[in-house]
Subunit: 408 residues, 2 copies
Amino acid sequence: MITIKRAVLIALGDELLSGIRREGNCAWLAGKLSRAGWKVECMEIIPDGNSSLSPFLEKWIGNTDLLVLSGGLGPTHDDCTRQALAAFLGTGLERADEAYDKILSRYPDDMRKNLENSRDTQGIIPSGTRPLHNPAGSALGVAFEKDGTKVLAFPGVPVEFTAMAEQELSGELGPKNGTWASVLIAGWAESLLKDRLAPVINRRELHITILPAPGLIEFYIRGTPENVARAAEDVRALVPNDWLPEGAGSLAGAAVMAAAEKRLTLACAESCTGGMVGAALTSIPGSSEVFFGSAVCYSNTAKKSILSVNEEILLHHGAVSSLCAAEMALGAQKIYGTDIAVSVTGIAGPGGGAPEKPVGTVWFGLADRGGVETVKRIFTGDRETVRTRAKNFALDRLWRKIREAPGE
Amino acid sequence: MITIKRAVLIALGDELLSGIRREGNCAWLAGKLSRAGWKVECMEIIPDGNSSLSPFLEKWIGNTDLLVLSGGLGPTHDDCTRQALAAFLGTGLERADEAYDKILSRYPDDMRKNLENSRDTQGIIPSGTRPLHNPAGSALGVAFEKDGTKVLAFPGVPVEFTAMAEQELSGELGPKNGTWASVLIAGWAESLLKDRLAPVINRRELHITILPAPGLIEFYIRGTPENVARAAEDVRALVPNDWLPEGAGSLAGAAVMAAAEKRLTLACAESCTGGMVGAALTSIPGSSEVFFGSAVCYSNTAKKSILSVNEEILLHHGAVSSLCAAEMALGAQKIYGTDIAVSVTGIAGPGGGAPEKPVGTVWFGLADRGGVETVKRIFTGDRETVRTRAKNFALDRLWRKIREAPGE
């Protein structure tokens, strides 16, 4: 039995309402809380200033289990969260010198003098509330409980908000041992996957969430430790070739991990993705152990001169063809001297389509020590969507190819 | 004199509160409205279902100029926006057959039959309200005015929301001739730029917003047509070498545009960015006219074999050095046969740093027909931040190099 606690998240900031910056703190915390079994009832994005916050405090304190505020704790006149909380509590503001000193002690002398000037703004809290240490910035947070609602106010600077939320909510957010599991699954459409996993989805003792991730679907399971462990095992058995190992948070991560385990080296040849596959692989720390490079050959001349694609193929079949994808993969494998290479060549649009090769047509080549194979997909969407889907598909096939290949 | 109208935006959706999807519709519209001179007073993200919306209708209708709802108009039992609006208006629901027929006429026969089944859910509106055509999906929107508030309800599917918002608010959102201008400026820190542009910023007749964009700062000006035109001209004169031409929405766009104008061809050699520069350039439609490719050479072996970087340089100076950056740029220029090439080689972290070359050190090379030059930067931040900053800096320098170069 999972107890569902309720939370409300409020972000203050004129810049969030004018399109200058997109709200991220509450969205991030909502995800964390939901995974930990909370129900987020409402998120509100409101202007800076005292008068805008007060009605929301009246509305929610006493009517939810947790109220988290983001922003309004800095040193400027716009920062009125402390004042609004004090007014709500019917109390004054007082200095929290011990807590502020703890923050100042982290700064070098010259900055400390400057921050001393902010003691009466960033270092004060409503009387009777608890000051919260800020491990990533200089403004104190505020905590109190009233009428059954736990209230936490954090600064809006994202790095400070997340550090303080993790610090203050660690007991609530941390993965409670075994009460959840996440399985990342590659290569499935969501509706087909739901059918396949129905035997697990339909178990009443589990709480299942299906989340889309780039090129993947995340199957998120909550319940008692033994039910969760059994469900995760059953899910993996139902899609035996498609689940990512733990620690691989993405297709690129899974490919780099698999290559490192087998001591295999990788390269790419990219046309329509223009470097996106290489950029994804190199986003993984440590990828330099296995990834040697990507030959982005956007022009046909470069395909010929760098990847040794046969001119006849380009003339008679075009750059978006099985034969060209095959030669690109073999060319990359050769010039980088790697065990495996993947190639991508397609028509991302908006121009360049033809009846027999519509926009979205993409050919992929996969070369290993045993030879080369190709596969075609037709993706829908605009230029960036086609490119992103092509990148994800290339990474998916590369990951599978690495697993099939014999080790070094 | 600019009239400021007020808007409130509400997004419905359990998936927005559970961290499954990040709210984007209201954030997008807030940016659009703010640019058109509106003040967005509040954005609220609330659960699906009738009961959650009603108090917000009570609260805002009559208290703001525009209320936009996103979501809750689909065919499932969770979709209760129509019901909540009808209850608020004290009226019933009725079929808007003409409007729904107009939507169905866009679909092929087999789908039309299916959608016919949804006529009593997606095709109904509260009596006395106006049905809104949906050019991108099958659910009708709803519009009415009450107590001085214009209420618009759009489906939550992003492509439908944006299409309908642009359709219904075109009079409000469209760039009112000359009442705004946007100047994108490259290569400046925000605080220094504010000092430089103070003579324009301090004009009382203008409303100025400074917005960060990737590698750029956007200087956004509102006011009367003649004041705006003069201010934009003065801004450009104050940063004569740093403003992007109209139509170039990004550094990559500016580089591709400049190269196309001068009929110059481009290539890259990338190490730590792993393909990000090539991916950015190829994100611009038509880039194939000027961009031939990028040699992503992550390993030293690839730098030697593909870009002909001298082994002695790698041994004595390392891959992150001025000499290596120079040879990489020259190598890319040569193998792709282009007029100009840019190279990037650096330490993105988290590993690989040393006291004399800390994490964040990145060397850039720029080769043209006249020779090659290099420049070093040390970027702060985590792996992805360093990589992104390096990508933006490379594009900035590439753009400037193209402008300096003589045309073909």
